[in-house]
Amino acid sequence: MAAVKEVDRVRTIKASLKKQERQLFFRRFFANKLMVMGCFIFIVLGLIALIGPMLVSYDPYEMKVAERLNAPSGEHWLGTDEFGRDLLTRIVYGAQVSMGIGLIVTLISSILGLVIGLYASYYAALDHILMRICDGLMAIPGILLAIALMAALGPSPLNVIIALSIVFTPNIARIVRSSALVIREQTFIEAMHAQGASATRIIWQHIAPNTISPLIVQATFVFAEAIISEAALSFLGAGIAAPDPSWGNILQAGKLVIFKAWWMVVFPGLAIVLSVLGLNLLGDGLRDFIDPHSSGKKSK
């Protein structure tokens, strides 16, 4: 009987410990106000991109010459563009394009970067080759490289994704490699060798999971940069081509009428600023949140 009671007691203690742990997690999470804000902005923009098109009542492609360059009003909340299209609708559809491309670029360059970084850190010969290629790519300013690639590939959404993935993969590969180099010198990797684990197993089962947190942090920054770069490419006419909406090419159209229709530049510009700000705040916060050494300082 006593034993049963003891077991129950231990169980309740364990449950309350778990609860405390969870509370601590949330408290730490919410203690970083800026990160919570970044997270919130990002989630709202993500939702707009996902379900926004269902909520807006206009067609992003339908031109109405009579209504061109209308100022924001009850009918067109953010005004209309030079072809009389509803600006809010175009920005919402543009969110899908801009954030979608950002997300895909982030995923592709994270996966490629992870593979390259891990193998480079493990095999010295491969390291020299891969890292020199990465150095070469990183030596060229990202946007210039992207423009050059777009000029070679021709403008299309797929090519934007390819070009930006090439630009951002070296970034991630560097980060992954540097943390993997630290991990591979740890005793537990040696212990795994002594247990007879194969190189593949050591790389993927034991080194990779330990590089994930810096990778995630870097990925949020890459996401933000990818959105800016896509907007810049589209602005320069090397990215998403009209009439498909993207924040960059709405901005470009707005540039021509900047003194007549301020809303054409302000709103897409705001969308870019907000998404990048949100992601950067999230990334900064995550860096502190994940790194156990900085938690003490930040909780003040």
Partner: protein
């Protein structure tokens, strides 16, 4: 009746390529280990104990950093001739290793159950459920209470002693024939140390595996080893059974090590004995006897010519020019003291 040797190391040399040329960290080691035997390897830091043990498992990268010479016969088969894949099968399955610092030897992102299961799944083709069963059994064997609960915990949730038990469970999970324990108790406090030593001795008796026990603690040697090798600067300077190590140490270095054990009895304000100097750099290995620069008995001969390892009795070997004279002198010295 001679026991069958499980491991025979013949003239093993391990060279490392460094920026300042090649250094030889293990220089011509020959010894054997019988089945079910515990052999201790003692010596100061930097004398090649760990390099020797890792060389036996061929853990150094042979492409860029290390080169092995000699023979390592494990059950009659030369490990140095095996392919990488064959070696991988032997590691963890036939030969296992425990490291010094248990916390850094465990991967922080996996539960201990994951890590014990892993080597079972690599080597024994068990499925997850069987491996889980076996893992719990192994944890229980190492004396961890409530193993079926502990198995889902992460390394940082365990104490140092517990972590070392987990390491032992991992190392022994595939029932290896040879266990190399590289200072497994150094990072632990004394009571836990005693428990771990007992555990290793017990498992050695139960499972009948050979153990190479690396340590710099002579007390530990006295506790569990049957034979001892004393290493200095990459060479074996004395090989003896444990009783003789303390009753009749032959090499001046061994004498020094024994004298530097703090004594509980005797005068209070006695200064602790130390061996003068430090281990010379491997880059400039002395010409003659490697211990000559620190040896109180060294003379010209020692500085000129390196002594060979010679047999003193059936169980004792020593690498010294003057051990017989020293033995006599010390005997006189001690009897005059009494």
């Amino acid at each position: 009746m001679e026991k069958k040797p499980l491991l025979e190391v013949k003239n093993l040399k391990t060279h490392f390529h460094t920026e300042r040329g090649q250094i030889t960290a293990v220089d011509g080691i020959t010894f054997h280990l019988n089945e079910g035997e515990i052999v201790g390897v003692v010596g100061e830091s930097g004398c090649g104990k760990s390099v020797m043990s890792q060389s036996i498992m061929r853990l150094y990268d042979e492409k860029y950093t290390a080169k092995y010479e000699g023979e390592i016969l494990f059950q009659g088969e030369n490990l140095l001739n095996l392919s990488k894949a064959m070696m991988q099968k032997i590691r963890g399955n036939d030969i296992s290793m425990i490291f010094q610092d248990p916390l850094s030897s465990l991967n922080p992102v996996y539960t201990i159950g994951d890590q014990i299961r892993e080597s079972l799944m690599i080597h024994q083709n068990l499925n997850k459920r069987e491996a889980q069963q076996k893992a719990i059994e192994m944890l229980g064997l190492t004396g961890i209470p409530a193993p079926e609960k502990r198995i889902n915990e992460y390394p940082h949730q365990l104490s140092g002693g517990m972590q070392q038990r987990v390491m032992i469970a991992i190392a022994l999970s595939c029932q290896p024939k040879l266990l190399i324990a590289d200072e497994p108790t150094t990072a632990l406090d004394v009571t836990i140390q005693a428990q771990i030593l007992d555990l290793i001795a017990e498992l050695n008796a139960q499972l009948g595996m050979g153990v190479i026990f690396i340590t710099h603690d002579l007390g530990v040697v006295a506790e569990i080893c049957t034979r001892v090798m004393v290493m200095y600067l990459g060479q074996i300077v004395e090989e003896t059974d444990t009783d003789c190590l303390f009753s009749e140490p032959l090499h001046p270095y061994t004498r020094g090590l024994i004298k530097s054990i703090p004594q509980l009895e005797g005068e209070r304000l006695q200064k602790l004995y130390t061996i003068d100097g430090t281990v010379p750099s491997l880059q400039k290995v002395p010409h003659g006897c490697r211990f000559a620069s620190r040896c109180p008995y060294a003379d010209e001969l020692c500085k000129e010519q390196a002594p060979e390892l010679e047999a003193y009795s059936a169980t004792q070997k020593v690498r010294c020019w003057h051990y017989k004279e020293i033995l006599k002198k010390e005997a006189v010295h001690e009897s005059s003291n009494e």
